[in-house]
Symmetry: C2
Amino acid sequence: MPPTQSTLLWIILGASVGALIFAVGLARWVLARSAGTPAMRVISDAIQEGAEAYLARQYKTIAVLAVLVAAALGIGYGVLRTSLATDPVNDRTVFAFFITVSFLLGALSSGVAGFMGMWVSIRTNIRVAAAATTSLNAALQTALRGGAVSGLFTVAMSLLGVGGLFAVLSNFAPAGVDAGAWAQKIPFLIVGYAFGASFVALFAQLGGGIYTKAADVGADLVGKVEAGIPEDDPRNPAVIADLVGDNVGDCAGRGADLFESTAAENIGAMILGVILFRTFGVSGILFPLVIGALGLICSIIGVMTVSTKEDADPMAALNRGYYITSVLVSVAIFFACKWMLNTPDAPDAWWHFFACAMVGVATSIAFVFITQYYTEYRYRPVLSIAEASQTGPATNIIMGISVGMESTVLPVITIAIALVSSFMLGKASGIMIDGKAAGGLFGTAVATMGMLGTAGYILAMDVFGPITDNAGGIVEMSQQPANIREKTDRLDSVGNTTKALTKGYAIGSAALAAFLLFSAYLDEVKNYINGEIHVDLSKPQVFVSALLGGMLVFWFSSLAIRAVSKAAQSVINEVRRQFREHPGIMKGTEKPDYGRCVDIVTVGALKAMVLPGALVLLFPIAVGLTFKYLGGPSEHLGAEAVAGFLMIATVVGILMAGFLNNGGGAWDNAKKYIETGVYGGKKSDAHKAAVVGDTVGDPFKDTAGPSLHVLIKLLSTITLVLAPLFI
Amino acid sequence: MPPTQSTLLWIILGASVGALIFAVGLARWVLARSAGTPAMRVISDAIQEGAEAYLARQYKTIAVLAVLVAAALGIGYGVLRTSLATDPVNDRTVFAFFITVSFLLGALSSGVAGFMGMWVSIRTNIRVAAAATTSLNAALQTALRGGAVSGLFTVAMSLLGVGGLFAVLSNFAPAGVDAGAWAQKIPFLIVGYAFGASFVALFAQLGGGIYTKAADVGADLVGKVEAGIPEDDPRNPAVIADLVGDNVGDCAGRGADLFESTAAENIGAMILGVILFRTFGVSGILFPLVIGALGLICSIIGVMTVSTKEDADPMAALNRGYYITSVLVSVAIFFACKWMLNTPDAPDAWWHFFACAMVGVATSIAFVFITQYYTEYRYRPVLSIAEASQTGPATNIIMGISVGMESTVLPVITIAIALVSSFMLGKASGIMIDGKAAGGLFGTAVATMGMLGTAGYILAMDVFGPITDNAGGIVEMSQQPANIREKTDRLDSVGNTTKALTKGYAIGSAALAAFLLFSAYLDEVKNYINGEIHVDLSKPQVFVSALLGGMLVFWFSSLAIRAVSKAAQSVINEVRRQFREHPGIMKGTEKPDYGRCVDIVTVGALKAMVLPGALVLLFPIAVGLTFKYLGGPSEHLGAEAVAGFLMIATVVGILMAGFLNNGGGAWDNAKKYIETGVYGGKKSDAHKAAVVGDTVGDPFKDTAGPSLHVLIKLLSTITLVLAPLFI
């Protein structure tokens, strides 16, 4: 017997509320740990203060922008646009209301999730540092559970938002529309939620990314290179800004990124579920949310199983947790498929879709391995960069760029296989609509769900990175004994690996989700025009839009990279000024003014994020409207051009992000490899060359690359929301 | 009265033979100049010897590869493939014969054109050096006319090849096929010519590009950086290899590039002309060749008008010549349109197409300005890189990459406007087929013709670059007085600018030509399947192919850049060995062994070009065949997937080439700007940082970037030739 809508909603909302409660409990557990020595607390308090001040200002800026966009949406839908007969609701004021409110709700939820995650993370740092004075296991568990608060909060909020909106709206069916027909309209009304989430994510990731790398590059160039003091040295006025950066960039930024990934993926998959309504009923629409709910529970179990022995490799413990989560998710999906996608019309469908989900799980594991291959110094790519460092910075850079470009090959082949095989599996599922095999796109959607099923765990592992990084900084700055430092160093280096892995995961899932999202976009367009639409590249207008879409990625990357360079320059000037005017700082007799550096980076990052962000918002709109008016009325050229724009921006974005992330990661670890003593070790010429590569890689891997993940999905959600305007 | 086929063929063949004769005369004029002092001759002879030895071996390697491909084509078409009713000739042996022979002919012509051009260039170097001892004007004219030999030879050979093949084949109409119907088949039979030309061009550009930059980077890193001797110092054992590189890379490489550009564009435009046969008859098919012929004559006039005063800027003289050529080409196209495209069915068509051609001319001028903006140190981009050099190599690299990425914006917008406006002009021309406006694609083709009309002059200006570079090297090494060096330095710096400009022109024309070529491909596919084909990105298989196409560009660039790094490494080791084992070299008492360095680079470059070249050949075939067999029999998924692959590879290729070319050019000139004395001038830390950027930029702008131009067109011509196999 197929499950009812209310059963499914109970599961979804129950699991998300349960996960939120669990996250609060976990947060209380973390906060109950020892808060370290007074010396540690001084530093930790400074980080907290800086991070909270930055986030408050960042969210204030984003809030202003979000209100502007909401107003534009409301006016666009409610006043400027004339209704179509195919609109999900006939009254355009109501339509505008749903779109605008769900946008604001998505933006707000993303902000809350990001803020909560970071609130806990910056309080976890010091507790990890304190725990390291007792045992490695205690430190590991504290860090991971602190990260899990962020991970669970993010995924649960996203699920609660989409599921809750669906539940609320299902009570507002217009007169004369039955529950089933109305359920098919709801996904189109709540696309605003995904857009709101992506909107906040873009600015959070971009602003945070610029912040973290401007502080890092600035602190390094003037501290390590000019003044010759080590990293995290308390005499460096930019050191607190650097530690703050880890939180606002990696932590809040990536959290926002995955928040919108799950939100957008869920809504996109629901739209594709609508196509199969005749076969699966409301089960098809709510299936993605149920998988998300189950994944959340599996992630909780996975996180709680992680523990390590004092002398074991903490990475092995984290990997074990990841594999446990993956297995649990697979089992859960198996039963979900059997329960929800079992229909007499197509008796083999459920296991075909289960196979699709396994393709997704396998894809995420493949991405983990590929990323490791390109960014760890056990393998050829990083070793070749280290080797090239012997002939100076130029050859280091050339080799790094070559490695970064090459690193796009295997992920693309993986994505290609995943998409085509899940499509073919779905198509072979036996579901027919109007005599044609129709399950293909839903198959790719299920693969995406499989990949995102472990998102909660992955995010916990990701936030683990900045937490341990900060814990290391606190231990270093408060001058703890060497054996404690050794523990936090081990965790920190594991954190570097997990950060690289989640970036690989994020781009892989972004690629799958993007395909799902533009399938949803085309489906939405078909709904509105009540006919077929192709994205025919052989039309010059579509080809030109594709070219413009690819160009946007280059332009955006250029702006993001340059923003870091500019903001770093102001940090450098400030640190130089402090050293010059207060010679006591270098002697250790005078305390540097950390706050001013924090302020400068804050202002710089916020200013710099607006232009690239606005570009991403306005460019697709300009393309859509231009070609709408250049084309004939029945050609739907605007909608088609936007689709071409979106798809090629996605293709180029995937490639560019892979290049930037992996190139940056490889440079980083080539330097670390030389620091183990190879080619003359630290202070050798090879090391100096490797430091240049590492610095170049910083804005690649922590600003432009991760922002591109968000860009890809933001473009999809913008077009989803604005599709009716282009028609 | 419309012109007859034989009139048109007489014009085409007459102009190309005339231009060849003129080129021979010009070569004799150049060779009759003074061949300089014995000291100069020693150096010049060494360059000649090295360049000829390299080219001989390169062509031997390419010949082997070409024969393999020809055999594969012959077997594929003549044995493996079953005939279709829509084939241009029914007998598959005859079909295979035409395709294979035209491939070999294209390959051979490209080789001959490249060899002839370089043969003259390496003899012009020394004559420019000698002429500089008398007057600047004499040196300028000698250099430009030497370059023009190469330019005219290239364009005329290409025209002669395509026109000649057409003329020959027009006598072989099968029984029962009338002349008009047969004329529409011929373009499909000679597509092999364009493929042969692209095939040779790819290897020539790739091998030459790797050669020139491996020698340059190697010579610089070990000479300038390690040993502290100036550029072109005779004590550097790699100096001759470096000078040889300029000839085989810039000269032979770019010649092959533009040879295949014109060949491919002509054949592609002829295929589009076939669509309009009902309106224009054979005039539409031969129109591109006539424009080429007229452009050739205009280029000759343009070259001969160039002269300069002793104290004037030689760049102004070259620009004047370019503008004269552009104006003459415009006038010639005006009359050609009025004569050939004037039809009572669509009385406004001729001036619409003339307007399209003007769009092309305007596009090429826009590219010249944009390239100047991004690569000259009068403007913001280069200045920002120079400024960033003050904080070291890392910030120099970050800024350079940012500038390179940004530099894709304006060219893409230019291409977008050019394509859309010429398409709309063509569509508005009044030509109707089956009641639908049909002139759009032909309009974009005419814009491409307008852009390529000045190819002869542009190529002369481009080859001017390596000639003056070499002349400067000869003057430097033979220790001529300062006033002569000052003259060759001025010409050399002009040569740097012209090289950058032609790269911008080459990528712009590649973009337009590529659109034309895949329109031709789709048209060809329609011919074979006798129905419509879309390139629908919303199909996962097509999207995946697009993703793979984009990835190919990253992969290829990675391989090309790495090849330079590897080959440079072997040069460095050899130079170090010579310095170590023969201490007399640095003292100036012993002559270094130039030949060994030349040999080492030769072997390294030839070995390194095979893998990326093979990748480009095999990847599209693999994509086409995979999706042909994965898709159903009537879906034509193979042909469609290949189209998606091709188009997105083109989009990404255009973007990546722009990034690499302009980024590299900007780094180069940022260094030159600092050398004028800014930020501490030569030997300052800022200069050292700028040298790092310049070195990184070398393989970008002279190996990977230019090879991507060829890659784009090679992909188009491969798919044109293999289209029947994917169906």
